[in-house]
Amino acid sequence: MISDAAVLLWGVASLLGTAVLAIALSRTPGSGTRLVYGLTLGISATALLVLAGRMLEAPVTPSTAVLPVGLPWVGAHFRLDALSTFFLVVINFGGAMASLYGLGYGSHEPSPHRVLPFFPAFLAGMNLVVLADDAFTFLLSWEFMSLSSWALVIVHHRERENARAGYIYLVMASFGTLALLLAFGLLSGPGGNYTFEAMRAAGPTPLVATFVLALMLLGAGSKAGLVPLHVWLPLAHPAAPSHVSALMSGVMTKVAVYGFIRVVFDLLGEPTWWSSTIVLFFGGLTAVLGILYALMEKDLKRLLAYSTIENIGVIFVSLGLALAFKANAMPSAAALALTAALFHALNHSFFKSLLFFGAGAVLTATGERDMEKLGGLIHRMPQTSFVFLVGCVAISSLPPFNGFVSEWLAFQAVLQSPDLPQWGLKVMVPAVGGLLALSAALAAACFVKAFGITFLGRPRTSAVEHAHEADRYSLAAMFILAALCLLAGILPGFVIDGLSPVTLSLIGSRMPVQMAQPWLSIVPIAESRSSYNGLLVFVFIAISASAAVYVIHRFASHALRRGPAWGCGFADAVPGSQYTGVSFAQPIRRVFGAFVFRATESVEMPAPGETGPARFNLQIHDVIWETLYLPIGKALDFATDHLNHLQFLTIRRYLTLVFLFLIVLLLVLALWP
């Protein structure tokens, strides 16, 4: 009997085989595209079946496999436990949906030979990261994942922006891997125990644990998009083809979250309480700043990428809460917070994939990513706009969809904070809860803007007038995701119970069994404290809406007349006179922008009697980029300029330098305790 881990490794091997096949097929783009995406769809679906079987049986023992590759004295270890099973479900489901979407969307790709080989390789890399059970395999797969996704980012490398995005992504990915390398180096200790099992058994000292946590925040955080390490994300994710953007935003960021959970919750052992404050702080900061950046954005795909940053912030806030409760031996509250984090990770993979697919459909139909040039697409693309609307409602965490449930669970976890003993946490957690609420409200504003400007109103350019509905594969992928957004929202008990093995293995506790609750409602602690029933809310809304429709159509007037819109006597026939995304965001920019973006607005009026137009100037600064990254770049330029002299020394000076360095090294060795 072959173990489940081995089956999944075969899946990875066949994905890599597909990648090689794709290189061979690059001369026949049409059939090659369909074959490659068909194969990846089949492999991901098979992997999902295997994983579903595991989840239903709920096996206690993890499945392992060792391959005789990698470091000679270690080999490559792979392990499939509850945590990796959950994340593999996210990865392979995202992969299956992206492949399904790619079946249709891939035919619009002008250079398929640059996409097809790397797409299966990227999927294989993400699977391997989650399967890996030793540091070497983990880092190798992580780097493989980064590089294959980098290749997908620069598919259209002739556009200047994309080349820049690829460069910044490469720099940030290398930086992140460096931090991970150091973290695993600290964990493995001087003995070189590279397997996760040995690290778990060793149990790091508090000092080492602190360093590892900080390094994980840098390494996994830069991949996930934690502020201020997020700068590459809104450049790189939109640059890739849309189904790859969906994978990067919806799935790869979750792989980063997996890495963080694996190390911090699993390998590090018992956390200290103040380490959770760091996670909470950066989570809250990321959530609010991410969505504020998204609100200022007018590129649809970049808006979605910024919103990914916000959602990562929400996930990290929940993870920080779980750490705080775990450190204070409050296992049931910790299980609640961790469930909220994982649930939100799953939800985000659903609705962010859906939204990127929708943005891809808009891009194919109109050739535009700039929302200010779109508008009125609801008439041209009714089905796409419907599923995009579902995604927008879900991501704005509004009931009865899934985003609300995970947000609600996070709030319930926040409400457990008075039982925490430390004052720092007691004051911090409600403040972070306020930030969470702020980011949720701003997210709703952001997606009113995204949907309203793109799909509603009147067409702003002629590009929209020739738009057409997306193909049937793309629509199928989007409708499946939209249905799941609703299902996970009205039947959250299934998901919460499915997550219980993960919380059991990481925290040793779980949320109460939800499927046994009457009427399938979810009750985190006790029904008298808090409960939510998405199913009943949905049914009630459906019943009362139908009742209203019935009464209206039975008793009220049926007359309907079409006429021009009311313009106060000024018929504004020009579609340009509509509200734009920038003007929609103006009130929020006035409230938050002066502080966060140093936004300045000025109006230049022509002198009286002149007939020239008045001009409105808006300046927005990316404060993080300008105050953190540009100085680092300048310092590096300065240093490399000056170190350049070292290249032109005489041999005597080189020998002196080598000698001096040797003495310094020996001194260090002699003085080392």
Partner: protein
């Protein structure tokens, strides 16, 4: 039998909020008019308006989409469900655990989301201006509301409204500074959410000064009736919410006799009348503020709510 009774009480609550909502708005209008020494419209004018709107034909903008025609029903349904989940005359109803306070606030958020979308559908500047200001107000009012929920949950140990109301009615509450702050903050949020003076003016017809009315400018006939009805329900919801949390007397608990239900309804109507008078007094006494003063107003609500929460962390008895 017990189940049928429970369902009947729940159904009665749903119908009660539906029946009383226009009356409350009519009452506020009447009191405001009397305070200005005007005669004012009769109390039942809102019902008449609704009937009149339903009998009229709908004038739809040329480029209005299917979404524009669906949204009024969605808004009405979401608001009605939310209003029916707040305890009005009784606690512990059959479906009261369907949604706690956070979920009720979020349901109103759904309604607002769709209203803002409807405003942008036709593509006129009025819709855009209304929607953009509405989401700005919401982005400040929602965090304030959530911090108020935190305070209440800290005091009562629950976000379930029936439990909160039962706790607030018990003698162990007493006078607390934090609850006072929450009350003021909640009233401020309620004023902003219901588009009342000083945040918005429900009676204005000058497009540039209004928010809610600008969003529904393109609606007419039965669609407008639905949206107006939802606005009536929302006002009733906030009044019920404030009175069930801060004036929890006279609420019927589950399993009481029929007379106590009648008494509960009478109590509830008295509370509505008192709140209506207070709202009218407040609105008459204050002038509408400029739109960009609203963030300060809501920021004050946010700070009060946060202060209340922090006070509770300092001492659970404050």
């Amino acid at each position: 039998m017990a189940l049928i009774l429970e369902l009947a009480v729940q159904g009665a609550q749903m119908m009660l909020v539906l029946l009383l909502a226009p009356l409350l708005t009519g009452f506020v209008r009447k009191v405001k008019a009397r305070l200005l020494r005007r005669q004012g419209p009769p109390l039942i004018q809102p019902y008449r308006d609704l009937l009149r709107l339903m009998r009229k034909e709908v004038v739809l903008a040329d480029n209005a989409s299917w979404l524009f025609r669906v949204i009024p029903y969605l808004i009405f349904a979401a608001t009605w469900v939310a209003a029916a989940l707040v305890p009005t005359f009784a606690t512990g109803l059959k479906f009261s655990w369907t949604a706690d306070l956070i979920a009720i606030v979020a349901l109103l958020g759904s309604a607002r989301f769709f209203l803002a979308l409807a405003a942008m559908d036709v593509g006129t500047s009025f819709g855009g201006i209304g929607a953009s200001r509405e989401v700005m107000i919401a982005s400040l009012a929602e965090p304030a509301m959530l911090l108020i929920v935190f305070s209440l949950a800290l005091v009562a140990g629950a976000t379930q409204l029936s439990t909160v109301a039962a706790f607030m009615g018990s003698p162990q509450v007493g006078l607390r500074v934090s609850l006072g702050m929450s009350l003021i903050a909640l009233v401020m949020v309620a004023i902003a959410e219901n588009a009342r003076v000083p945040v918005d003016n429900p009676a204005t017809h000058l497009e540039l000064t209004m928010i809610h009315e600008a969003m529904v400018l393109e609606y007419s006939g039965r669609h407008l009736a639905m949206i107006d009805f939802a606005a009536f329900l929302k006002l009733l919801l906030y009044v019920s919410l404030i009175s069930c949390v801060f004036v929890p007397w006279g609420l019927v608990t589950a399993g009481a006799g029929p007379w106590s239900y009648v008494l509960g309804v009478v109590f509830y109507i008295c509370k509505l009348a008192a709140s209506g008078v207070l709202l009218a007094l407040f609105e008459t006494a204050i002038a509408k503020m400029r739109v960009f003063r609203v963030p300060d107003f809501l920021g004050a609500a946010l700070m009060l709510a946060l202060l209340g929460t922090l006070l509770l962390f300092v001492s659970r008895s404050l």
